[in-house]
Amino acid sequence: MASYAERLEPVWREGSGLASWVGTVDHKRIGLRYLYTGFAFFVIAGLEAMLMRVQLARPELAVLSPQAYNELFSMHGVTMMFLFATPVLSGFGNYFVPLMIGARDMAFPRLNAFGYWVFLGAGFFLNSAFIIRQAPDDGWFNYLPLANANFTPSLAIDFYALGLIFIGVSTTSGAINFIVTILKLRAPGMTLNRIPIFVWGELAFALTVVFALPALTIASVFLELERRFGFHFYDAAGGGDPVLWQHLFWFFGHPEVYLVVLPALGLASAIIPTFSRRTMIGYTYIVLAELFIFVISFGVWVHHMFAVGLPTIAMGFISAASFMVVIPSGTQIFAWLATMVSGRLVLSTPMLFVLGFILLFVIGGLSGAMFSAVPFDQATTDSYFVVAHLHYVLVGGAVFPMFAGLYHWGPKILGRKLDERLGKISFWLMFVGFNLTFFPMHIAGLLGQPRRTYTYHEGLGWDLPNLLSTMGVFVMGAGILVTFWNWLRSEHQGELAGDDPWGGETLEWTTGSPPPEYNFETIPTVRSREPAWDQPELHGGAQPPEQGGRPLTAGHTTLSTSVTDAEPQAIVRMPHASPWPMFLTLALMLTFYGMLLSSWGVAVAGAAASVGALMGWLWPRGETQET
């Protein structure tokens, strides 16, 4: 009788040719693609920022023209928010959610592949604007009337609107995939109170996308209809209102930033117990805090509009809600600190990045709390003070956890350890460089420097903060490069990691590094919140059937379990590799380029091809339940 591994391997193996590369549906390969592509966009957006900082190093420099600067700051924001932050956190989620919940893949493997291809296609679509020097130039929140056809007749805003609709397809399909995976594919025994906090964070992210992203999609659709066909949504003369754009955008935009931060906080929660050598104190509070943030984040969008001239009473309510949403973030921080204090900290690189994250996120959260005070917001919004705040929460609160994640899970992904010394060098360069770049911006803002300005005059007291910021960005950049170098070098030269180099508590540490295609030889039955610590039989990834393991070696299958109690309900057949997600993406790209260039023949052809590709995808082949 062949071992489980020997029986599973031929069923799950995807091969290594072009067909496999195009058609892979393995969540680990797709997750890794999200990571690599997302970090590539991170580098692009970082270079955009470096150019901007060079232009602002001294007053009245002419390194960049105003138009070039405006394109750079706009694309920096768009790229960081849509092509880096969400994709990278989706990448970690894609790779590790199925592993952490004891599943063999995501719920919809082909949809997963599709989400990646659309991300790549939409990222290309947006950045192709640079080729014709018509990149979006009205900022990442693209206010009207400046963004209408009258004031910006070029294709810049059409790239923006169509590009965001396009990437929204990827984000939405990814979100639905995460929700169904987390609800339905958890290993038997993984009840709600045993779900790892990182998984809760990805669930909160996905739920936010489902309910908040449509506002941005509709806002963009309205914008294109107005720009292209003369509809009226945002022009006062036609009965519209430019402030409608602001409401729609920020109704999405505020949940969006929590959507970025929640999985990152979850990532920190994945690392802290391991590197404190103890279980998390306040698990229930942390989970409730994440869900509380998710709910309240939908009620505060107006705090981005306190200078618009809205009624005082309305602003008062939003102010109260904005102060309130600070509390659950604070709850998580003190739960983590309690865990760290009563544990025994291990100061390896992942933990250093987490410590740095906590300090920076607290600073960002404190400056953010200040913005809940309406008069203070009205004084400092649209100045460099808010630029400082947003970077402290986004870089401190999301990028630092991502780097922690690279060091924490790198050995699992690569099968080899990353170099600790390089890791520490990278951390310190990034931490010092980040503070040098962004702390002075608080001061520049308080001294009256507005944001989104391609230059400034001397003698206003802004010279020194700007120079320090420019210097800092190179230090931070160097630190980032050190980690990338570390990763690339460790791929082939790192010390072999083994299954569990850190002594982790969650299921991914019970199987190989990297995990086999089928993830676990047997789908485990989980009896604890820290299964890798409490159930020694799990190590090796093959919990014996007598203790609850389910081999499921007969086919390309995984288990469907109930939503709350994770009771097994059915055996579900999963699809094999398929080229149709990529074909559909190419058809959609044709459609979007056709719409961009007003080539309606091309757009219709693309739409027809998309329908065809969708039919090819869904055509019953006996692979899944759909015969």
Binding site: A236, P242, Y285
Partner: protein, 303 residues
Amino acid sequence: MLSPEGESARRIDGLWWLMFWISVVVFAAVAGLMAVAIVRRRRRGPEVDASEPRWGDPFVVIAGVIVPAVILTSVLVVSARDMVAITNAGDAQLTIEVIGHMWWWEVRYPGGVETANEIHVPVGETVRFEVSSVDVIHSFWVPELAPKVDMIPGRTNVLDVRAERPGTSRGQCAEFCGLQHANMALFVVAEARAEFDPWLRNEALPAPVPGPGATAGLGILLDSSCVGCHTIRGTEASGTLGPDLTHVAARQTLAAGTIANTHENLAAWISHPQSIKPGAVMPPTDLSPQELSAVVEYLEGLT
């Protein structure tokens, strides 16, 4: 901020320092706990500790929910009080309209006075600004005096400002408005009524009659493309696309605070505005150097 000259700015300054010191204490607490965790890390203990210390949940609830709630509620109360006070700053004795353009500020006083980019206000009195825009969204922000308010086409927003001391405060547009958003500044000059009233009376007068040396300049100007955009009250120049120039020589700066109002700068601005403010709506002039010199001499008489 950090050097308030106006009543609202002073309130906000107080609010800022309150929140700043609270933040310092909170950050110190977090950093302190982190330091404790780092220092304690080498003590002996089980390989993996699964105990649930009795202080765990109470600590999280007290430090993570109750204390923040108390602090934040207190700040909310202070901020709400400040918000109401700033909004109801008292009856305004003077209302000034400011209308945003790409990339300059149209300023209108009661009684038909129109100027641009420089606003004078009487010290110690509440002035009500009514702001709007003719094109895209701008934002009226003079940090030393008051918070900002957006200037939105199709609506009028209101900001009450009370300067507490004489002086000049710099402001800058604070809502991205296109190519030259960075060069859309303004100056607010707060002065006692003894200086303000004569200033306003002078602004209400039509342009001074040019002296013998400047008459030629006026003639050239009236024949040039300048009159398509600019008004000089008391002459035939009545264009409305650009700033009113009736008393341009009395202003401290040109091009919305971009350059000082000097002879060289004025000549440079007229002859090649695009090199000073690339993308500005004002086109380069086709005047010859002698014509330019004459026009500048005329304009310098418009005090």
